[in-house]
Symmetry: C2
DNA sequence: ACAAAAGTGTTGTATGTACACCCATGC
DNA sequence: GCATGGGTGTACATACAACACTTTTGT
C-alpha cells in the first residue's frame, strides 16, 4: 500500500494583491539563495508541523512582509505539484490569494528579505518570476478578476470608509476597462447588502462630496456584475 | 530555514459525481483498514514519486474504480491540511472533482475494494463518511452546482449524443429545482458554442422525437444561467 | 465662472419568466 | 384518441447601456 509513496516537502506561496497608484500591484521578494538567486518570487515558505496551510500562509505573510493576515482577505488558490517545478527536489506548493487595501509599505520590515510592491502588468511575462510563480500569479489574477464579477470582494481593496468612486476605480484597474459611473453606482447601491451607508461624506477632494460607505454583509453579488468577455490578461494596468 | 519543517504525506481524494436514476450519485469505497474500518470514504491514495497530483488522481481513478480518466471531466477542488484530519499522522490531501456520464457500473472491477454509487443526498450528513470526507463532498457539490451556472460543464453528465431534455434533467437533479422546458431550451440553443446539432433524432421514447446534440466548444456560458439563491444543500435529489 | 466629480433621469434594447399553444410519436 | 414529452410564440416585467442633465464642491 505504501509502495512508491512520494517523499515531498510542502510549502505555501502567496499572491498578495493591492491597488495603489491606480495600478494592480503584487508583493514580491527577491531571492537570496540559489536557485533563482536574485530573481523575484512570490513570498512563501515551508509548512510546519502542527499548522494548517492557512495558518502557514498567515504566518509567512507576517514573517516575510509584516502584513497582518486579519486585515486581508485570504483564500486558497490552488496546489501545484509538477515534480520538476523546484530543481532542488520534490516540493509541492499550495498557493494562497491575499487581497487588501493599500497598506503602509511593508518592505521596511526587519526581516532578511526585501519585499516590494510591483505593478502586475510589469511582471506578467513568462519566465520573469522564479519557479512556476508566473503561472501562479496568472492564476491568482484570473481568480481575482472573476471574483469581482459575482462577489463583493472588490471592497477589500478599499480602506473603510470608502466612496463609490474609489470602489469603481478598483474594478477599472483590475479589469482594465472603463466603467460608466452612473450605471456602476446604481448597480452597487441597489445590490442588497453590498454597501452600508455611513451617512458621512468625503469632502477633502475636488468636486461634490461623495457619500462614504462601509462593506455590507452580503458575500455574493446577485445578479452578477459582468465584464465583457474581455479576457486579455496583459491589460491589468491603468 | 528548515526549522520546524513538517513531515507530511500527500494523498489525493476523488469526488466522483454522475447522474443516474434521476439522482446525483457519488462513488464511494468501503474502508478495509483502521481507522474508520467498514465506513464509507472517497476513493483516493498516496501520491507517488514522479507524478503530479493530477496524474495520481487519474491513476487512483483507474485502480480503485476502473474508470477511465480520459472520459471524465477532472479538476482540482481544494487541498485539506488540518493536522488532525487523519488520526495516523500528518496527511495532507488534495481533492479532485470528477464528473461523468452514467457509465457501466465500475464496482464489478478486479480490485480489492468495493466501489459503489450512492445518492449524494443519502451521504451528506455530517460524520457519515470517514475522515473529513463529508466536508470535501460538500465542497465538491457546491463547486459542481456553481459551475453549472456559468460553464457548459453539465454536458459531461450526458453521454453523447444527448437531447436537451436529458441535459435539463441534469440541471434539475443537481440544483434540486424544476426548470421551465421552453425557456431552458431557448437559453441553451442560443448560447454560442454550447450545443452542436447532429441533425439526428432520438425516437426510442414516448413523445415527439428529440433532436440530438453533442457538446460544443465554448467552455463558458455567457450570460450565465443562474439558479435562484436556492442554496439549500440537502435538496440534491429528485 | 469653471472644472471636476457625485448623483439623478430617461430611453431603447436585451433578457428572463410565465404560460398558452402546436407537433410528433407510442400506446 | 390520448398521454407524453418536444418545440414555438407571445406578453409582461426587469435589467442593462448609453448618455443628457443637475448638484456641490475647490480653485
Amino acid at each position: 500500500m505504501g509502495r512508491g509513496r512520494a517523499v515531498v516537502s510542502l510549502t505555501v506561496d502567496l499572491v498578495i494583491f493591492t491597488v495603489r497608484a491606480e495600478q494592480l500591484q503584487v508583493l514580491l521578494v527577491e531571492r537570496g539563495n540559489e536557485p533563482f538567486r536574485g530573481q523575484l518570487a512570490l513570498p512563501g515558505g515551508y509548512l510546519r508541523g502542527a499548522e494548517t496551510l492557512e495558518e502557514a500562509a498567515v504566518r509567512e505573510l507576517w514573517e516575510e512582509t509584516q502584513l497582518d493576515g486579519a486585515r486581508l482577505h485570504l483564500e486558497q488558490l490552488r496546489t501545484y505539484s509538477d515534480p520538476r517545478r523546484d530543481p532542488r527536489g520534490r516540493v509541492v506548493t499550495t498557493a494562497y490569494l491575499a487581497l487588501g487595501a493599500d497598506l503602509p509599505t511593508p518592505s521596511a520590515g526587519t526581516d532578511a528579505k526585501e519585499a516590494s510592491w510591483m505593478p502586475v502588468r510589469d511582471v506578467l511575462e513568462e519566465g520573469f518570476l522564479a519557479f512556476d510563480h508566473g503561472v501562479i500569479l496568472r492564476d491568482g489574477l484570473e481568480r481575482a478578476r472573476a471574483k469581482l464579477e459575482y462577489t463583493s470582494i472588490a471592497t477589500v481593496f478599499c480602506s473603510e470608509p470608502f466612496t463609490i468612486g474609489e470602489l469603481r476605480r478598483v474594478y477599472e484597474v483590475i479589469w482594465g476597462i472603463p466603467l460608466d459611473p452612473s450605471n456602476f453606482r446604481r448597480k452597487l447601491t441597489r445590490a442588497e447588502g453590498f454597501l452600508e451607508p455611513t451617512g458621512k461624506f468625503r469632502t477633502s477632494t475636488v468636486g461634490r462630496p461623495a457619500a462614504l460607505y462601509s462593506r455590507g454583509s452580503a458575500p455574493l453579488l446577485m445578479p452578477p456584475f459582468l465584464r465583457a468577455q474581455e479576457n486579455s490578461l496583459p491589460s491589468a494596468g491603468t
